[in-house]
Subunit: 339 residues, 3 copies
């Protein structure tokens, strides 16, 4: 289904192979021998495709589907037409993502350093790593194995990058240590100077920004983000956290593990965010705050105070989301009285 | 008037030539032979300049102006001093833009591929296209005629670009099909992976992002924007739409034709925006919404529900703008009572 | 204390040298001969380190500190343990920044133009300036002395850059005049076309953008910012102003001197901002407004009207901050009544 200009499909695969990979319930002998060519949405799927049903909102697509096989949970199976070939899994969405990676594996790396890349002689580039045209790699940089360094990326002196990392084109990375399996989209800044000044006789003087950016393993960072290095301590992005596009992370911020930070969020200096925190798009968090683990902040919130663990917040200034909903209702009544 | 370091002026032109090009009302024989050297604001204009008057707010500048000719509508003409040489047009602002392009035509392209650009042998570069230093163009890329590919731009495998496109320096474009006359400013990301994850045993696993970005003809995209490719469907930017700087467009968003999207707007995944929609700066739109054609969303709104066609909305959560203005008034009274 | 992978320490220095540089009160003869190796936070400091105490919030760190010397004001000195070696200065934070620059001086430039940089023969590069790999410098560009042009930076024709400027990697700069000592982080756009259109028969037509960007001396610009060039006038960033990451400055904006603009702020077209204005993160300012000198706008404000000099504003729409705080309280009561 994916455009062959951009995505290279593997397969076909037997349903038995697919089922084994995703830990599905056993298939009938007949189903096992069914050949599957591709993945597809329920609407688009034909007899050679495997699809997924995981949400009753998409019931309209389920009934008429021509899909050759459908990933589904036992719980939702009764919605399916009797003729459908159902593959039972505990988590159909996750199984679908896994099957997708089977059909569309990550692009094979073309190991080696392009002639036009400029790699300092003291830099160490791991086995199997691909360095694209125009990349510039500084002194004492250490890049792990099987990484992909995109075209025109600039990596400053001393940066350390783990194995299996992917750095998108036109990124600039300095003063940073990256763990394994970090993925960074394009036009991203990592390690810029933080925003700290002190008044002097001739205007603002910059405070030293002597910290680093520590990006732990399996972090994913969206396009055009900017993450400043620490001032005195380090800026830390915890393992497994994911950042969407155009996110700003200020100096000394410590983001926990497995956080989900949506697009255009800004987190001001020295704020500490616990594990598993979720922030909706365009949220702003003031400096020097503590956001407790597992807290959820609705989109476009303005967080001006500490947030307790597991709290669900919204609004500006951010408050418990129930209060915010109440305010919204109250305001709506108020505006009617004004008439 | 423009700085010759940056802008190359054509001309001079006779008023007759100018009037013909913009469809002005007939001139007197004397006016026809008047030579015009440049465009200029009313304040700055001298006898060799053509200027424009289109808004009574600028009346103070009209009366003392030295401009050699003034583009004006019949409706506003009575404001002008009797001595002024008036050129009557239906839409003075548009006529002024046209005259501006006459004096300051787009820079002539220097067709060819710079030695330091890295173009894959399978890529096809159209006649008259200029590829600047350090640009990197991937396998099977197809670029039309008379395009300008800026320095250090990175274009991924399989990307298709129409005729007369302009891609600014340091952009990264992948998984995308661009129509004719698309203009993209600098440091822009097109085609990055969308923000879709599913929980797995070891943390968040990325959903496949197997769609494309379709940018239809005559779209203009501002600096440092980020537009993700689709997940299962495509991300689409409709013909003639214009995006300002630092805009975020998530995966699967479908933006209509002739939309105006101001700076720092964010549109979340799978939202469908109708033709002719306008969004003020810093507006956020939640995912999976439908914004009806011709809707206008005031700056900094937070849109959390579907918006009907032609609605005028504002506030956070976004509501009909009259309601929002009422709330603003009501709140202002409320705060006085609190004292 | 700083990671030697990234930061190169000078010294050690005698306390007498340090005290002389920062204008401290006279030391005892014994103190004068004390050798200091590094700077450090109170918590991390040992006997060879100099630290700072400037805020009673950090009292807990002061009492047990092992720091060999502490920068402190006379006013706060009574908090310090009797055994501490105190260095009296009028402004301890500023003194600490100065001492920091002594131990961590700016990296020495490696003057010259890298082989892979593409410098137009007509460009003029000042003495002592370092041009990194892949940088592209256009026709008639004039760069001053002791500048650092980062890797893969693209500088358009005619741009003028003063002395002692630093342009981070992957920036794109065009249609701009930069004063001395300007510092720009990475992935920044300067000089893009502004967002001005006029309706035509076939859709939106771009208004000419014939102005420039004037960046006065000592301005500092954060990562991934976008600053459009003027349309008819110039876009101006006043001397000594500092911009954080991901800031949007539209065409014709005139920002005063010594302004502090936090991350993700957006200032719309033709707005004039006075000297010394501060804007908190994610603030939006509408077009054609005047923000008086010394005004302070709280984070996430939406400014829709002119702001008087020295006003302190907050909220959306922005209002005097006292009113906004009152509203917040009133709203909170309101939401309780709704229950």
């Amino acid at each position: 289904m994916a455009d062959a200009r951009f995505f290279h499909r593997a397969g076909p695969f037997l349903l038995s192979e697919i089922a084994a990979m995703i830990g599905a319930e056993p298939l009938s002998a007949d189903d096992e021998q069914t050949s599957i060519e591709d993945i597809a949405d329920l609407e688009a799927a034909g007899p050679g495709h495997i699809s997924v049903f995981s949400d009753v909102r998409y019931l309209d697509a389920l009934l008429p589907t021509q899909a050759g096989a459908i990933l589904i949970s036992r719980k939702l199976a009764h919605h399916a037409p009797a003729t459908a070939r159902l593959i039972y899994v505990a988590d159909p969405r996750r199984a679908y993502a896994q099957v997708g990676r089977l059909f569309y594996p990550p692009q094979t790396l073309n190991a080696g350093i392009h002639d036009s890349a400029r790699v300092h002689p003291s830099a160490c580039i791991g086995r199997g790593t691909q360095v694209d045209p125009g990349a510039v790699i500084g002194r004492d940089v250490d890049i792990g194995e099987r990484c992909h360094i995109g075209a025109n990326v600039v990596i400053g002196d001393g940066v350390l990058i783990g194995d299996d990392c992917r750095i998108g084109a036109n990124c600039s990375i300095s003063h940073a240590l990256l763990g394994h399996r970090v993925e960074i989209e394009t036009c991203v800044t990592i390690g810029s100077q933080g925003f700290g000044f002190v008044p002097g006789p001739a205007g603002l003087e910059r405070m030293l920004q002597l910290g680093r950016v520590i990006i732990e393993e399996s972090v994913k960072i969206g396009a055009n983000c900017a993450i400043d290095r620490g001032a005195t301590q380090d800026t830390i992005i915890g393992a497994g956290s994911v950042l969407d596009n155009l996110v700003h992370i200020a100096h000394n911020v410590r983001l926990g593990r497995h956080c989900v930070i949506c697009a255009q969020v800004g987190i001001a200096g020295s704020t500490v965010v616990g594990d598993g925190v979720m922030m909706g798009g365009q949220t702003g968090v003031a400096d020097h705050l503590t956001i407790g683990r597992g807290a959820q902040i609705a989109a476009k919130s303005g967080v001006m105070r500490d947030v307790p663990a597991k709290a669900v917040m919204g609004g500006f200034p951010a408050m418990p989301i129930k209060d915010w909903h109440r305010q919204t209702v109250g305001l709506s009544r108020l505006s009617k009285k004004v008439e």
